[in-house]
């Protein structure tokens, strides 16, 4: 079984500042992928970044980066130089080796950005 836990229901950041969203992914598998998805008020889920469990290097996509600590089961998302358009629900998700593409999602963190 896999569980994804996001312990921060809400977070707030000042525009241009940096914020980190937390996630833990618990699984007995050694090979899996982790994702961060963004859901703005329009409801359209958009992929932000992905990380393969076997890769030691943390993924980076422009202002977004992850800190993946496999032993600690931690998968946090760092947003640098926050922009007003970053305000959204952020979901952490994972998929195991034999799970097809079946994503298991956390409960989400609502991020607000203050001007």
């Amino acid at each position: 079984a896999q569980t994804v836990t996001q312990s921060q229901p809400e977070m707030s950041v000042q525009e241009a500042e940096t914020v980190t969203l937390s996630c833990t992914y618990d699984t007995s598998e050694s090979d899996y992928y982790l994702f961060w998805y963004k859901q703005p008020p329009s409801r359209q889920m958009i992929l932000v970044i992905r990380q393969e469990a076997y890769k030691q290097q943390n993924a980076t996509e422009n202002r977004f980066s992850v800190n993946f600590q496999k032993a600690a089961k931690s998968f946090s998302l760092k947003i640098s130089d926050s922009q007003l358009g970053d305000a959204a629900m952020y979901f952490c998700a994972g998929v195991g080796y034999n799970q097809g593409g079946k994503l298991i999602f956390g409960q989400g963190t609502e991020l607000s950005v203050k001007p």
Binding site: R43, Q44, M45, L47, F91, G100, L103, F105
Partner: protein, 115 residues
């Protein structure tokens, strides 16, 4: 089309009625997924298709829920004898293959309200 589309956008129905929700995936995408998102919650996996085959139906909440897919095209999620607890946003996603590394591209969802 450029992305995943779903119809209707919103559906209000009376308890006990049947509803059909439609998903048009991105052309050429083999894999198609259905998720349910209750208010303030994360996404809950329902079912996925590889082509028109559904290898994993484990997420369907009850036998009132069924889904089918025509070839590698349109999918329909049917809920029979709707109950108030079925009220949620139903999201569809597609991906080129079933590889766990693939990005899932989501539609805007259908918001279902059962009165």
């Amino acid at each position: 089309g450029a992305g995943v589309s779903q119809s209707p956008s919103n559906k209000v129905t009376e308890k006990g009625k049947d509803v059909e929700l439609r998903c048009d995936p991105i052309s050429g995408h083999t894999a198609l997924y259905w998720y349910r998102q209750r208010l303030g919650q994360g996404l809950e996996f329902l079912i996925y298709f590889q082509g028109n085959s559904a290898p994993d139906k484990s997420g369907l909440p009850s036998d009132r829920f069924s889904a089918e897919r025509t070839g590698e095209s349109v999918s329909t999620l049917t809920i029979q004898r709707t109950q108030q607890e079925d009220s949620a946003v139903y999201l569809c996603a597609s991906s080129p293959t079933l590889k766990k590394s693939e990005t899932q591209y989501f539609g805007p969802g259908t918001r279902l309200l059962v009165l």
